[in-house]
Amino acid sequence: MSDRLTGLLIAALAIWYGWTANNFEEGFGDPVGPSAFPKLLAVPMGLFALYLVIRPDADPDWPRGNPLIRQGVMLAALVVYPLILEPLGFPLATALAIFIMAVLLRGTRRAAGVAAVAISLGLFVTFDQILGLHLPMLPSLQ
């Protein structure tokens, strides 16, 4: 079932991908143009995807219950981190992210807290101070 769904999705993507290519403007004096290669790719992509629909493999074990929740929280942390990185500054945002990840990976809260502070400061010093890569600092100190 999973393979069938994937196959259908990718087949639809291939059709859209090849179809969109028709709208690309041809360059002047360019016999091939920007649409030829995408159209060429759309064919095998669609055909192999359809093959998956017809001959799917057995379903993988999808996570459910507790692991699924953990993955969801982890994903949320991963998405939120880039959004708060510049507003909160690197040390604070990073410490928060590490704390959440460490707890999700079954670290104790106290150890995770200590590790979060230590690692985020360590990374900041290494990359910003020593390697000269400018990371966003605390907003008030900028």
Partner: protein, 497 residues
């Protein structure tokens, strides 16, 4: 003789204090990454690429650093195979079979020493092979025109799954999908924006390193959460690896045989180190297992796969450097580095930038010596790392990936793209769709399209030019033959089930 003078020139590049220091650092970092379960060579090299940018290294130094990391991971992978029965990375899987039983019999030190020496033999022999054969392949490749290159890319993509690939249809679909991802952005010839949805950040396309770190490193943490089990079982304390010379001599034949098999499977497209160690073990078992001692802690069963995977690592550099077509995931990441540094691998690289090529090759010889020293007397340090809990390790890896990717453009959009690729990577891994063809497609798509368009503009749009030369036709014939083998072996596997 010509080669020796090139190599001497390479040594002058590799032996500058900066490059030597980078090589040693790369060896240590690589061994650590290889030893830690869950962090394979692809991850290790991908995470450290942004570091090379941050340090502002010149191309030769950056390549030396990462190639040493690459060789280091191949040495390091065996440590947790032997100590914990958990392969540090995929190619070290076969080393578990006899390495862990040896450790349980109290022979961990011997297993570590024999496998370190086997790694050294394999890596050194294949570096010699690289030195000899890469220039030969360059001499052939110099005659390649756009049509031949297009045929070569078709060969590379059609065979990327090799004979081991799970489902050929999935591999080929992944390759087409990766190539399609590679077309996102402004078309370099006409300036047309393709598949960008008007998003300004996508005009340059997906940065390959952002995609690679997402696909491999970020997906890893999602995979791990599925069966999170806290810390590893405690490893046996070992401070030094040692073995009697007579033991080493007994495994000598296995090392040489393993090296040869590994080297060949490294050079072939789409085979790589995992196949190298698998074939080396299988072959050694057939040749030497007279008493049925393989699988119960036979030193030769440790030596053969270790020599095999290290030899394959060197062999895989040959097509990457001389043709610009990588044969494995890790060499694809090294190619991403070269492309990011505006260097086009291929025959011209040997002529125009001998410093980069020969400096790299020379530093690989040095890396092998450094790695042997690190992995025999100092192996205790690395075994102690295995006791690091995952809740500490994985968040650090993720944060280093974030910092590294952020350093490329100082763009938080890139970080979101990376997380997106991480989710994609997780889903694809669950579905058994290989990631390497996607990475290769993303990396090589531009060059493949470029050659396709150049060939057709030479002929004025006549597609028959693609099949016009003997080289191109033989490449297509090879593609068809290898595809047929892959399909037949997939059908056989299917029937056996």
């Amino acid at each position: 003789m010509e080669i020796l003078s090139f190599l001497a020139h390479g040594l002058t590049v590799a032996l500058t204090p900066t490059n030597l220091g980078l090589a040693v650092f790369g060896c240590v970092a690589g061994t650590i990454v290889g030893a830690l379960p869950g962090l394979g060579p692809v991850n290790g090299v991908a995470i450290l690429i942004p570091l090379a940018f941050t340090l502002g290294l010149d191309p030769a130094s950056a390549l030396i650093l990462l190639a040493c990391v690459y060789y280091g991971t191949m040495y390091g992978g065996r440590i947790s195979s032997i100590m914990l029965n958990i392969p540090g990375d995929e190619p070290a899987m076969m080393t578990c079979l006899d390495g862990y039983p040896m450790a349980r019999k109290g022979k961990a030190a011997e297993a570590l020493a024999i496998s370190a020496v086997a790694s050294f033999v394999g890596a050194t022999l294949s570096t010699i092979g690289l030195t000899l054969f890469a220039p030969l392949l360059v001499k052939v490749a110099i005659h390649f025109g756009p049509a031949e290159y297009f045929a070569l890319y078709v060969l590379a993509f059609a065979t990327i799954g090799g004979v081991t690939g799970a489902n050929p249809a999935k591999t080929l679909m992944a390759a087409a999908f990766g190539l399609a991802l590679g077309t996102v952005g402004l078309d370099p010839v006409s300036g047309t924006a393709r598949y960008t949805f008007g998003i300004f950040h996508l005009f340059d396309g997906f940065h390959p390193i952002v995609a690679i770190v997402g696909l491999f490193a970020i997906s890893e943490i999602l995979v791990y959460l599925e069966h999170a089990h806290g810390t590893h079982p405690g490893a046996v304390a070992v401070h030094r690896a040692y073995a009697r010379l007579s033991d080493l001599a007994k495994a000598g034949g296995a090392m040489v045989r393993g090296s040869l098999i590994g080297f060949v499977s490294g050079v072939l497209p789409g085979a790589g180190a995992s196949l190298g160690s698998f074939l080396a073990y299988a072959m050694e078992k057939r040749v030497s297992d007279k008493q049925g001692s393989f699988g119960h802690g036979d030193p030769r069963g440790v030596a053969a796969p270790e020599a095999g995977n290290n030899a394959a690592a060197g062999g895989a550099l040959i097509p990457m450097l001389s043709l610009g077509v990588p044969g494995s995931g890790t060499t694809a990441v090294l190619l991403a580095l070269l492309i990011s540094l505006n260097i086009t691998p291929g025959p011209l690289l040997f002529q125009k930038q001998p410093d980069v090529v020969w400096g790299l090759i020379a530093s690989l010889y040095i890396a092998n010596v450094v790695l042997l020293l690190l992995n025999v007397p100092l192996v205790g340090l690395f075994t102690r790392l295995l006791t690091l809990p995952m809740w500490l390790l994985l968040p650090t890896v993720v944060m280093v990936s974030f910092v590294g990717v952020y350093s490329i453009n100082h763009s938080t959009f890139d970080l979101l793209v990376m997380v997106g690729f991480g989710v994609l990577g997780y889903l694809l891994r669950k579905l058994d769709i290989p990631l390497v063809p996607i990475v290769l497609g993303l990396l090589l798509g531009a060059e493949m399209e470029n050659n396709y368009r150049r060939a057709l503009s030479i002929s004025g749009g006549d597609a028959s030019i693609l099949f016009d030369s003997t080289i191109a036709v033989s490449l297509y014939a090879a593609t068809a033959a290898l595809l047929a083998i892959a399909v037949v072996s997939a059908i056989r596997r299917h029937r056996r089930r």
